[in-house]
């Protein structure tokens, strides 16, 4: 995406139709939310193989319909071109939100998509993406001269090659393909960012067309890698992170233009080295498992309730076999619904016991004990107010999003704190997408993810 989108975007920049790069992804997004809404109402069937398949169809149909309509209005030449695109953008944005409102069941998925929350792609989606983007990349390479000619000056192109409608159609077809497929995979914001920002950043740095196209693609790759890295490290949504980085690249490019070519190259090299070192430092970070009781010279540990800071209930579906069995044997009250926090705490308790700890629950001392925050001072304060002593193991879930047969995205903080002096003996953040492709339902996916998290922190 980072390589191919800027190539197409370079021609949009040359044609001074940058706003088209914003409007078309938004139209595609409207198509996605429309398709999900139709599916919700039962007009369209559910595709078991890929939930995104129906969205992809919606994205493709809306993109090409939108392009056709914009092209038709362009041909008629009435009104201001920017005005037409702005109106189309506003309409598409409005429709996207309306279709989301009509479809509360699919709100989270569509909103994640619009935010550019790319978490993971299935193998099928990845292959499809590679095939489409590979095709577009080849097309851009083979016909680059024709695209350049028609983008630079249409009248001159006409004089040289005759009527150039075919190249316009082909260029917009390729652009439509990457926009339609890109939007369903990564969201409109990210696609717009990749289309336009690298080309805008490359423009002040080069004076040759060949270098412009090459540098646009390279900056697109830099933006993709840096954006993805920052997004994962800082737990930020990918789309906004990438777009912000792309804008930083533009500012950097205009700054570099003011200094000599040699100095620019030096700054770029330094930046590259710093990024490389940062990347290596991250990959070499040693993650230690939870220390055992001997290592911390204390075997008494308070295992606090897991704090849920996601704002979601994280309940397991009622089809959970463990819960059903518990209900049958009278061990679980019928109004109780098991959740991720309980599953995680169970897993932690077992592992801590195996590590030689005597595990006690704070609520056994006082039933009013709330979950502990992963923030050390508030955990200490709570422990002291409850007159606890020894060690306390706290866990806080910041994000827990599951996609059956795909992955569960988790972001959980763990901490082992000595209550006497507030020393943090061990801490760990687990933040990643855990593949759960073998799980058949959300309950199974959550259970698999809990097992993976516990396994990760205990080594």
């Amino acid at each position: 995406m980072g390589l191919v989108c800027p190539l197409v975007g370079s021609y949009l920049v040359l044609r001074r139709t940058v706003f088209l790069g914003l409007t078309l992804p938004q139209i595609a997004a409207a198509g996605v939310s429309f398709a999900f809404w139709l599916q919700q109402t039962g007009f369209l069937p559910r595709w078991e193989q890929s939930e995104q398949g129906i969205g992809m169809v919606g994205s493709l149909v809306f993109t090409f319909l939108g392009m056709g309509l914009i092209g038709y209005l362009e041909q008629r030449g009435k009104g201001l071109a920017e005005g037409r695109l702005a109106a189309a953008y506003a309409l598409a944005g409005g429709l996207t939100i309306l279709f989301i409102v009509f479809n509360p069941a699919g709100q989270i998925e569509v909103l994640n998509l619009l935010k550019g929350e790319v978490i993971a792609l299935s193998q099928v989606e990845l292959r499809l993406l590679a095939a489409v983007f590979g095709l577009v990349f080849l097309g851009m390479l083979i016909f680059r001269r024709e695209f350049l000619l028609t983008s630079f000056d249409r009248d001159l192109a006409f004089l040289l090659k005759g009527r150039q409608v075919i190249w316009d159609v082909l260029l917009y077809l390729l652009a439509g393909l990457i926009i339609a497929f890109g939007v369903i995979m990564a969201g409109p914001l990210l696609i717009f960012g990749f289309l336009v920002l690298p080309a805008l950043a490359a423009r002040p740095l080069v004076s040759r067309m060949s270098k412009f196209l090459l540098l646009s693609s390279l900056l697109g790759l830099v933006m993709a890698f840096m954006g993805f890295y920052s997004s994962v490290r800082l737990d930020l949504p990918l789309g906004p992170t990438d777009v912000t980085l792309g804008c930083c690249l533009i500012f950097l490019a205009y700054g570099l233009r003011r200094i000599s070519a040699k100095a620019s190259a030096t700054v770029m090299m330094l930046l590259f080295v710093v990024l490389l070192i940062a990347g290596c430092a991250t990959s070499m970070t040693v993650t230690t498992p939870v220390p055992d009781a001997k290592a911390v010279r204390s075997d008494r540990i308070w295992l606090a309730k897991v704090k849920n800071s996601t704002g979601l209930p994280l309940l397991l579906p009622s089809t959970n076999l463990l819960r059903s069995a518990g209900e049958m044997f009278g061990k679980v009250p019928s109004d109780y619904r098991q959740n991720v926090m309980d599953l995680l705490r169970d897993g932690l308790r077992q592992e801590l016991q195996q590590n030689g700890y005597r595990v006690t629950f704070p609520e056994e001392t006082d039933a009013r004990f709330p979950p502990f925050s992963a923030e050390t001072n508030s955990a200490l304060q709570l422990g002291r107010e409850g007159k606890l002593s020894g060690l306390v193991f706290v866990s806080e879930i910041w994000r827990w999003e599951g996609y059956p047969q795909q992955f569960v995205r988790v972001f959980v903080d763990f901490k082992l704190v000595r209550l006497e002096d507030g020393a943090v003996l061990w801490d760990r953040r687990v933040q990643r997408a855990i593949p759960t492709s073998s799980s058949t339902n959300l309950g199974q996916a959550y259970t698999d993810a809990v097992i993976a998290v516990v396994h990760e922190i205990f080594g």
Partner: protein, 241 residues
Amino acid sequence: MEQDSVLDVRDCAVVLDGQTLLSGVSFKVRKGEALAVIGPNGAGKTILFKALLGLVPFRGTIEWGEALRIGYVPQKFPVDKTVPLTVCEFFLLKAKRFWSPDETFLEHLSHELSLVGLSQEILERPVGELSGGQLQRLLIGWAMVDHPEVMLFDEPTAGIDVGFEETVYQLLQRLQKERNTTILLISHELNIVYRYADQVVCLNREMLCRGKPHEVLHPQDLARLFGESGFYKHANEAHQH
């Protein structure tokens, strides 16, 4: 179409958005001839050229000779100041190989540039950084680089310093003589028309006169064409002197 004709225009009219910009234009141009189109601002001269090139829809008949290469120097060529395209790349758009040009084309390019008074050093400069005069020379060079049989010049000396104006018109004559290029020219300067054109077409939304300049450009015709501004008198008198 006659054998030595390169262009035959019959009752050509251009109507855009319901507005008639041009009507009743008919003329023929023979190979190697120079035809000047004159008329006041807004008379439809540029529109006529665009119709000849097929850039705007028209009514009537415009018939070009078979397999003609046509060069066009527009009156205005809006270039984005930041467009990442060098002069060399601009010319390479006309080359067989854009991304890996051959030496022969580059040598030929240097020669053509020298004809319009541009040095080889300009090749590496971005098109957007050229001055108005340099850009105009560049456009002339670009139009003639592949030796077209017909060249259309829409006020080729607009934005060019006075010294270079004469060079441009001498170049037009040279193209006519050495390459037998047919030239269609829009100009406001009647002395140029008298000196270089074999034929003249007077336009003011419609065709008012057509023929050899000395035969058709009478003071009363010019008055009808340009109004009683006196603008034309100087040129006409200059010719008589």
